[in-house]
C-alpha cells in the first residue's frame, strides 16, 4: 500500500485489480472505441488536408478583383418604368494597385501577395489554335502564392521577355515542347511570339490546358493594361481565415475579394458535411464506450454492495464512496485511451503500408497528432468519470443496513 496514495485511490485500484478480467475487458472495450476515434480523426484530417492542398495547388487563398461596374441610371422621372440592362464587365486594372499591395503586405495573416495581369487570348502553333488564359506574373512573388516551381515537369520557371511557361495539356494540344515557339493573340489583335521555357503540371487538367504564364510586362501590353494588373492573388498562413480576411480587405479597399472558401463553396460544404458526419459517429462511439463503463461499474456496485455497506459502517463517508467509483471510471477510461492510442498507431502504420498509389507512393500523408492522443486520453478519462457517476451515486447512497443484510 503506497503511503502517499489517498484511501479512495487505494480502494479504486484494488477493486479494479480484484475484478481483473472484468477490468481488462472494459479497458479493451474503451481502447477499441478510442482507437477508432483516433484513427478516424487522423484519417479524416489527413484526407481533408490532402484534398484542400490539392484544391489549393492551383488557386490563391484570396483573389482581389476590381469592383464590378454597375450601370447607374439618371434619376428616373416619376411614373416611367425603367429596365436596367446589366453592364458587361470589361478587363480593367485595379486602381492604385501598388498602394493596395503595400498596405496588404504589412498584414500579419498574409503569407504572400502576387499582382497578376490576366485575360483571355489564343495560343497558336501551326494549325493548332487554343483558347487560353494569359497570366502575367512576377515569378518570385507568384511562387509564394502557387507552388509553381515544384510543379515544373520540364524546363524551368523563367518568364523573361518573349518567354512563356505552359501546362502539359496545352503543350500536348499544341504539340509544343520546351524551346518551341508559340504565338499568343488577344481579342484586341495584339500578338506576340513566345518561346516555351517550361512545362508545369498543377494537377488540374483545366488549368494545365489553359494557363499560360508570361512576364507581367508582356501580359500588360498584350491585354492593353499598361502598368495595370487585373487581380491580386494572396496566400495566407491560415487558410481558415480566408473568408474573414477577404471581407475585411473588401471593406477596406472597396475591391471585390473572393476567398477560396467562397469560390469552392460546394467543396467546402462537402468537407463540412464529412466533418459533421464523422463527429456524429465519434459521438456515438463515445456514448457506447460510456455505457460500457457504466454497465460494468453498475455490476461492480451490485457485487460489492456488502463491502460498500461495511465501509459505510466503519465510517466511510458518501463522498469517499462516490470518489472510489468515479476514480474507477476515470482509471478505466485513461488506460483504455492509452491502449486505444497504441492501437490507432498500429492501424495507421498498417494503413500507410496498404494504402498506396499505383506507383508505390503513399496515397496521402496521415500522422497521429500528439494533441489528438492527449485529447483522447483526457476525453476518455472524463467520459469514464461521467459514466461512473450513476453507479458511484448508487454506491454512495447505498443503505448500509440493506447492503450488509444483502
Amino acid at each position: 500500500m503506497k503511503s502517499w496514495m489517498p484511501f479512495e485511490w487505494i480502494a479504486a485500484i484494488r477493486f479494479l485489480r480484484e475484478g481483473r478480467m472484468q477490468s481488462l475487458l472494459i479497458i479493451v472495450g474503451v481502447g477499441v472505441g478510442v482507437a477508432v476515434i483516433v484513427f478516424m480523426s487522423a484519417l479524416l484530417s489527413g484526407l481533408q488536408a490532402n484534398l484542400v492542398k490539392r484544391t489549393l495547388s492551383s488557386q490563391a487563398h484570396i483573389v482581389l478583383l476590381p469592383p464590378e461596374e454597375i450601370a447607374r441610371p439618371q434619376s428616373p422621372a416619376a411614373g416611367i418604368a425603367l429596365r436596367l440592362q446589366k453592364q458587361a464587365q470589361r478587363l480593367r486594372s485595379i486602381d492604385q494597385w501598388q498602394q493596395i499591395q503595400a498596405r496588404l503586405e504589412v498584414l500579419p495573416e498574409i503569407a504572400a501577395i502576387s499582382p497578376i495581369a490576366s485575360g483571355p487570348a489564343f495560343a497558336v502553333r501551326g494549325d493548332a489554335n487554343k483558347a487560353i488564359t494569359l497570366l502575367g506574373i512576377d515569378p518570385v512573388r507568384y511562387s509564394g502564392v502557387i507552388a509553381l516551381p515544384e510543379r515544373m515537369v520540364a524546363g524551368q520557371l523563367r518568364v523573361g521577355a518573349g518567354e512563356a511557361v505552359i501546362g502539359i495539356e496545352l503543350a500536348k494540344d499544341l504539340g509544343a515542347d520546351v524551346g518551341d515557339k508559340i504565338r499568343v493573340t488577344t481579342a484586341g489583335d495584339a500578338t506576340e511570339t513566345f518561346t516555351v521555357t517550361g512545362l508545369f503540371d498543377l494537377g488540374n487538367k483545366g488549368v494545365n490546358a489553359r494557363n499560360v504564364y508570361v512576364s507581367l510586362r508582356s501580359a500588360q501590353s498584350l491585354l492593353d493594361l499598361v502598368g495595370g494588373v487585373s487581380s491580386i492573388d494572396i496566400s495566407l498562413h491560415d487558410i481558415d481565415e480566408a473568408e474573414r480576411l477577404a471581407s475585411k480587405i473588401a471593406a477596406e479597399t472597396g475591391l471585390t475579394a473572393d476567398s477560396w472558401i467562397k469560390t469552392n463553396a460546394q467543396f467546402v460544404t462537402a468537407l463540412t458535411s464529412q466533418r459533421v458526419s464523422s463527429n456524429v459517429i465519434r459521438f456515438f462511439i463515445g456514448l457506447s464506450v460510456a455505457f460500457g463503463i457504466a454497465s460494468v461499474l453498475v455490476v461492480s456496485v451490485i457485487q460489492r454492495a456488502r463491502e460498500i455497506g461495511i465501509l459505510h459502517a466503519m465510517g466511510a463517508s458518501q463522498g469517499q464512496m462516490l470518489r472510489i467509483f468515479l476514480l474507477q471510471g476515470g482509471i478505466v477510461g485513461f488506460f483504455g485511451s492509452l491502449l486505444g492510442s497504441a492501437l490507432a498507431w498500429v492501424f495507421l502504420m498498417l494503413w500507410r503500408l496498404m494504402a498506396r498509389n499505383p506507383d508505390g507512393t503513399a496515397m496521402f500523408i496521415i500522422g497521429v497528432d500528439p494533441w489528438l492522443v492527449a485529447i483522447a486520453a483526457g476525453g476518455a478519462s472524463l467520459v469514464g468519470i461521467l459514466a461512473a457517476l450513476l453507479p458511484a451515486r448508487r454506491a454512495a447512497r447505498l443503505d448500509p443496513v440493506v447492503a450488509i443484510r444483502g
Partner: protein
Amino acid sequence: MADPVTNPVLQLTGIRKSYGSGETETEILHGIDLRLERGEFAALIGPSGSGKSTLLNLIGLLDRPSGGQLFIDGQETGQLDDTGLTRLRGQRIGFVFQHHHLISAFTALENVAMPLLVARGRPDADMFAQAGQLLDQVGLAERKQNLANQLSGGQQQRVAIARALAMSPSLVLADEPTGNLDTHSADDVFALLREVNTRLNTTFLIVTHDRRLAARCDRIIEMVDGNIVADMRHQAATN
C-alpha cells in the same frame, strides 16, 4: 460536553421505530429503554422478527429512530446530520457481523487497518503497527499478509473482530458473530470477545439466537414483538 468516562456507553430512552406512513405505518419498536455501562458484556436475544436487528441498526447509527433519544457516550445523536452520525459511528462503534464482511481485495492486515485508513485518509506506518498488534492479539500473527478469502471462516471472524477494535471503540455491536461457525470455532471466537472485553473494558452488545452463548454473557436482554420483556443480570442469567 458529554464525558465518555462517567456517562453510560449507551442510553436509549423511549426509542420507537416504524416503517411506512399513514394507514400502512407499522411500528417495529415500541419505546425501548436501555442503558449499557462501560465494560458490560450483554447478549440481546429474542425470536426472529422481535426487532433485535432493527434495534442493533439504530444503536449502530446505521438507521435513525422514529422517536425517542439515543445517546452514545453521553452524546445525543438525534441532532447529528448524516456526516456527524458517520463520524461518530466510525470513532465510537465497532461492528462484527455474522458474515464477517471482510473486503476481499485487501489482506488481513489491511482489513484491520481499514477503519483507521478511512478516518485518516492516507495509510501510515502507525496504523499498520496497530493493526498488526490487534492481529497478534486475535492469534493471527502468521496470517497478516493473507487475502481475506485465503482464511478460514473462524480466522475471518477473528480478523473482523480485530477490525472492530481498530478505532478503540466504546461499544462493539456483534450480530450473530458465531452464527456462521462450527461449535469449536464459535467457542474460540466467543472466548476472544470475552477476553477483549475483560482486557480493554470494551462494552459488547451481542445479538444471538444461541441461548448457550447468551448464558455466558453478564447480562441477557430479551426482546419480543418490539419490546424488552426481560433484562437479566449475571445471577439471573446463570439461573
